[in-house]
């Protein structure tokens, strides 16, 4: 098979920079291959992608050494428009690549520029819409779609150009598990049907599994490559490559350590099923894990009574009743567009309920200003980087306390303390928007902490973070939990929910479909299906074992091991 991408000794420096973002890279990709590029943020993955269609160096400038050949064309000798028929890039942020007023004209934009006959454009557009499941969206405005839908439009607009090679930069970031699965099956079917070649930047396991090859990139160098199977078989490798160990994989590694299992590590639930049924687990001796975590004070913090709210006439939240006590760690889950963010914004007064009432420590929030709510609940927006406005990290954190009218001394103390607790104190002079994504999220947490609130709401803090940041954010959350802070976590990461949350509230179409203990939620078939989040792989696996009720309540691999260790006790 021939190479459709050939990169020889590629080094690249951004304008006015002496640091090599790409450092002597050699890489060949064969037609129809799926190659996944992984590694910590800032390692040059996106930069490498941008050399493939000539955006680097033709648009972004800088100094490029070495050679990049795409389908036999040297990118230095052809412009971006010419290369666009060979390589299509779907960028990480959907917003910057959607600029038309309807989905159909968005998708047609590329082929139109290529002067393709109108009839053929029509065919291509409807083909791309069919594949991405966008039929019926023709006249919708891309700007008003959900994140998942936007991503599909971005992919469709690239498909319509029929490129040989498709580059996807973190294609499933921010998508719920059902949307993510759609993207995955789309990649697979394009490869199988059209022999499309893929280069995908990603660190999440569901994409890594698709790969023919996984490349690990650190500091502008490709450190090595491996097959998914070898990667998941090697715990040390996963750790050093900053890859999250999937729960099912982790389970088998633990079983291996226990000496119960010796074979290869299965990658999917389907693979794991025949294997796990051979693992000796005595059915009657599994220890019950249903004991609740430490009981907390029963002091009520937030109460929502039949609350409906939304934007204009459109009601997003419908008649919701919620009571949250002090010290609870809650996860708010549900599909994209289920109303999670709206509910959170309602709690902090950013959206006024159209019906019902919200009590904060017994006070109706209708009688309170948003500024009065801010020292009680802090809300951390999704994509916090878009909301920084100060010239330094320190200033950014002090903004809140200053509004509370505290003394200069107290302000400084709070800034110090909150920056220390998220480990950012060494960067306090930096400009907030110059931080890395992970640091920005930690800064957002520090900003919330500086208000010393009773409760913190985090809206998808894990979106777009690399594994190293994920770990540090999880540690911070764990610490806050131990300190007894009330936390409401909005997330698609069910692994995180199962490790941290005591209680789950699941939303679907603006209504609560489940409110109860976490371990009960993941085993409640009706609730999981209604919430549309999909079973966590581990639970799915255990549910398929004979007599699954004996495992009920187990949500992590560690708990499972603990349960079977209980044998003989």
């Amino acid at each position: 098979m021939r190479d459709v991408v050939k990169i020889e000794n590629l080094s690249y420096f951004y304008p006015y920079s002496e640091v090599a973002v790409l450092d002597h890279i050699n890489l060949s990709i064969k037609e129809g291959e799926i190659v996944v590029l992984t590694g910590p943020t800032g390692s040059g993955k996106t930069t490498l992608c941008l050399t493939l269609n000539g955006v680097i160096p033709h648009i972004l400038g800088g100094k490029l050494d070495g050679r990049v050949l795409v389908d036999g064309m040297d990118v230095l000798e052809h412009d971006v428009a010419e290369l666009s028929t060979k390589v299509g890039i779907v960028f990480q942020s959907p917003d910057v690549q959607l600029f038309s007023s309807s989905v159909i004209s968005e998708i047609a934009f590329g082929p139109e520029n290529l002067a393709i006959p109108r009839e053929e454009i029509r065919e291509r557009v409807s083909w791309a819409m069919e594949l991405t499941g966008l039929k019926g969206y023709e006249e919708r405005s891309p700007a008003k779609l959900s994140d998942g839908e936007k991503r599909k439009v971005a992919i469709a607009s690239i498909l319509a150009m029929r490129p040989k090679i498709i580059v996807l930069d973190e294609p499933t970031t921010g998508l719920d598990s059902i949307e993510a699965k759609r993207v995955i099956s789309l990649i697979e079917s394009l490869r199988n049907k059209y022999r499309t070649t893929f280069l995908i930047v990603e660190h999440r396991e569901h994409i890594l599994r698709l790969a023919d090859r996984i490349l690990l990139m650190v500091d502008g160098k490709i450190l090595g490559e491996c097959k998914p199977r070898d990667l998941f078989d090697d715990e040390k490798l996963m750790n050093s490559a900053y890859i999250r160990v999937p729960e099912v994989v982790k389970l088998f590694h633990l079983l291996r350590k226990e000496g119960i299992y010796r074979g290869r590590i299965p990658l999917t639930v389907e693979e794991a099923l025949p294997v796990i049924s051979r693992v000796p687990i005595a059915p009657s001796t599994v220890k019950s894990c249903n004991a609740p975590k430490d009981p907390r004070a029963n002091e009520e913090l937030i109460r929502m009574e039949r609350v409906s709210c939304g934007y204009g006439k459109q009601e997003v939240i419908k008649e919701v009743n919620v009571k949250i006590n002090k010290g609870e760690f809650l996860a708010l889950v549900g599909r994209n567009g289920a109303g999670k963010t709206t509910l959170a914004k309602c709690m902090v007064g950013l959206i006024k309920p159209s019906n019902g009432r919200i009590l904060l420590q017994g006070r109706d929030i209708r009688d309170m200003n948003i500024a009065d709510i801010s020292p009680i609940i802090s809300y951390i927006f999704q994509n916090p980087e878009r909301q920084f406005f100060s010239m330094s990290v320190e200033e950014e954190v002090s903004f809140g306390p200053r509004n509370l009218g505290l003394s200069e001394e107290e302000i400084n103390e709070r800034v110090e303390e909150s920056l220390r607790s998220v480990n950012l104190i060494h960067l306090k002079e930096k400009h907030p928007r110059s931080l890395s994504r992970g640091q920005m999220q930690r800064l957002a947490i520090a900003i919330a902490l500086a208000m010393r609130p009773q409760a913190i709401i985090l809206d998808e803090p894990m979106t777009g973070q690399d594994e190293a940041s994920l770990r540090s954010i999880e540690m911070i959350l764990r610490k806050l939990r131990e300190e007894g802070k009330t936390i409401l976590l909005i997330t698609h990461e069910m692994g995180l929910v199962s490790r941290l949350a005591d209680r789950v509230i699941a939303l679907a179409n603006g209504r609560i479909v489940f409110d109860g203990p976490t371990r009960k939620f993941f085993w409640d078939e009706r609730a999981v299906i209604e919430a549309g989040i999909g079973f966590p792989p581990l639970v799915q696996l255990l549910r398929n074992l004979p007599d699954p009720s004996r495992f009920e309540g187990i949500v992590t691999a560690e708990e499972f091991i603990e349960a079977i260790r209980g044998r003989g006790k």
């Binding site: 004209s105 607009s157 200003n369």
Partner: protein, 265 residues
């Protein structure tokens, strides 16, 4: 007042060029006459098109912006127009120059005031007949057909898009400041309000540059500027209906011109 609202009326389906011709004619005619009756006739035509095409009235805009401006214009005309036939007058101290000791509303001022207000409404309401009933792409397309270079037309429409992204950004920052206890946006005085908004502008402008840069990359990655002959999926074509409407627009304009310019009484 420029956002597109979808609809299925004849006005929506018309070739944008015909709509541009129609609204330009109305616009020009409004400046060729001062007669309140003729202007009322023109405004009636505009209003009929608005109602027919179900163009949504923005209460905020009409009540809070247009009507106060109209009232102000009317009063100025009524009191300051140098007319002769005095309707009502109030004595004022004669040391105030210009008035000659009297503030008077004249008949000429009244008529002129009414004309000015009518004209103001026509001028403001004529543009939405094109912009609020035409998809941006179709408008862009017909502008290109009318001779505007595609690159320029595209840049114009994309800038409008970018502005709406930046507006969303400003709203985000305002929300972020509010939930950090900032009360500046609720302050009453204009100076305090300006003081609250100024610090937002710098980060949003920075964000704007970054988005614009990323957009440029995305747009060029989709073969923008690849070929001089660009196909367009949406074809703006003159149909039979378009020709008929254009014919009536032109004849109507000519007849009105004859009347307005006073050849016939």
């Amino acid at each position: 007042m420029i956002r597109y609202y979808s609809g299925d009326t004849l006005i929506h389906k018309l070739d944008p060029r015909v709509k541009i011709a129609l609204s330009t004619s109305l616009f020009l005619l409004a400046f060729l006459t001062r007669d309140p009756l003729r202007l009322s006739f023109l405004l009636t035509v505009v209003l009929m098109i608005w109602f027919y095409a179900r163009i949504p009235f923005s209460e905020n805009f009409f009540l809070k912006t247009l009507i106060p401006i109209a009232l102000f214009t009317f009063l100025i005309q009524l009191l300051f127009y140098p007319g002769k036939v005095i309707l009502v007058s109030v004595k004022i101290p004669s040391w105030i120059p210009y008035f000659g000791g009297m503030l008077a509303a004249t008949q000429e001022g009244l008529i002129n005031g009414i004309s000015m207000v009518l004209r103001l409404f026509i001028v403001i309401m004529v543009m939405p007949i094109v912009t609020m009933t035409t998809r941006l792409e179709r408008l862009l397309n017909s502008m290109v057909k009318l001779g505007l270079p595609y690159e320029l037309a595209f840049t114009l429409t994309t800038s409008i898009n970018l502005l709406s992204i930046l507006q969303a950004d400003i709203e985000d920052v305002i929300e972020a400041q509010k939930i950090r206890g900032f009360r500046g946006f609720d302050e009453r005085g204009i100076i305090k309000k300006i003081k609250a908004y100024v610090p937002i502008i710098i980060p949003v402008a920075m964000e704007g540059f970054m988005i614009a840069r990323q957009m440029e990359v995305a747009i060029k990655s989709r073969a923008f500027g690849a070929s001089n002959r660009r196909t367009s999926l949406i074809d703006v074509k003159m149909d039979k209906v378009d020709w008929i409407v254009l014919f009536f627009t032109l004849t109507g304009t000519i007849i009105s011109l004859v009347f307005f310019l006073g050849f016939v009484h």
